[in-house]
């Protein structure tokens, strides 16, 4: 084949490779990489859903490995993952909640109906804490280490596979850290 025809063909081939790689990655496109990983949890202090006289603040997250789960009663996929959260909470994993843009009675009713896996849940009615946590879609789950640093973020509902392959091993690893 003539050389002058080869050049466009090679360029076309490279473009195809580029687009195929892009499409293969498209599955994860919604996962915006969080710039918060490796940083301290944002500062906040918010009354809890359970008791408006008490607060949940970033200081509660120091000294232990924990999960922070962003949830809402209006969030359908939160319901999908809720059973799993109940199960791992029963296994002794500390889960803290941030109740995102929810009415208090709705949130309480939801916890009463589906069980409460949370140590406590902050009632973030305005969603302002959500912005500080970089929340763009509930549910979101963060893994926090003993120093109160964010080490991992999962966007969307967690499934059994995410728990057993990623989150639990990470928690074990973080618990072993001094």
């Amino acid at each position: 084949m003539k050389k002058q025809f080869m050049t466009p063909l090679i360029i076309f081939g490279l473009l195809v490779v580029l687009l195929v790689v892009g499409l293969m990655k498209a599955k994860y496109v919604r996962d915006v990489p969080s710039p918060l990983i490796g940083k301290a949890v944002p500062e906040f202090s918010i009354p809890t859903v359970e008791d408006q006289q008490k607060v949940f603040s970033n200081n509660d997250l120091k000294g232990q490995v924990s999960l922070v789960n962003i949830w809402a009663s209006w969030c359908v996929s939160c319901r999908a993952e809720h059973k799993l959260l109940n199960v791992i909470a029963g296994q002794g994993i500390k889960i803290y909640g941030i109740n995102y843009k929810d009415e208090l009675p709705d949130a309480r009713q939801w916890l009463a109906a589906y069980g409460n896996p949370y140590v406590k849940s902050a009632h973030d009615i305005t969603g302002r804490a959500g912005i500080d946590w970089g929340v763009y879609g509930t549910p979101e789950t963060f893994v926090i280490d003993k120093n109160g640093m964010i080490r991992y973020k999962h966007t969307g509902p967690v499934y059994q596979q995410d728990i057993s392959e990623k989150i639990l091993p990470l928690i074990k690893q973080l618990q072993a850290e001094s």
């Binding site: 496109v29 710039p35 305005t126 302002r128």
Partner: protein, 173 residues
């Protein structure tokens, strides 16, 4: 819609009217579905035109994280509204555009910017078009040069063989 040929008798006219009515009824759910739901929120009001300008510019440059192909000003998502209000609030508190942008990037990463910064990860994005352009210009120049040489070679003096051929033709005349 009315381009259907209508026979001029009563029965078919009723039929046409009925179909139109039915069609409009079909559209009714769309009308009911459209439009905002719930309490309308307080509009964002600016007293300072400069701040308003900054606000509009930022809302165009920042991406809505929920509907990822829209910017803040285009998006009706709840989060976009929250972020617009946050932008407005920060500007009113005296933050400049860079500070607001930094605030967003700290929380949502470079992804929130429609104008991504020049970095190691983005050099292809920014540099690619220029690389392609220069490569195109270079290729074009090469081509032009090559064809010029070819042309000049063609038009230059005839080879010995050609001269002989030409003489032969002229003699035969």
């Amino acid at each position: 819609m009315l381009s259907i040929p209508v026979k001029k008798n009563g029965a078919s006219r009723v039929l046409v009217l009925n179909s139109i009515l039915f069609f409009m009824l079909c559209l009714l759910p769309l009308y009911l579905q459209a439009g905002p739901r719930g309490q309308p929120k307080e509009p964002i009001v600016f007293e300072n035109p400069q701040i308003e300008k900054d606000y509009l510019e930022l809302s165009e440059e920042l991406r809505c994280l929920v509907c990822q192909n829209q910017n803040l000003i285009d998006s009706n998502a709840e989060l976009a509204d929250d972020l617009r209000r946050e932008v407005a609030k920060m500007l009113k508190q005296g933050n400049n555009k860079e500070q607001v942008t930094e605030f967003m990037v700290e929380r949502y990463g470079d992804f929130v910017l429609y104008n991504p910064p020049f970095k190691v990860q983005t050099w292809l994005l920014w540099g690619g078009p220029f690389v392609l352009m220069f490569w195109g210009i270079f290729a074009l120049l090469q081509k032009v040069k090559a064809s010029k040489e070819e042309n000049s070679a063609d038009s230059s003096a005839l080879s010995e063989q050609e001269k002989a051929k030409l003489q032969a033709i002229l003699k035969n005349k």
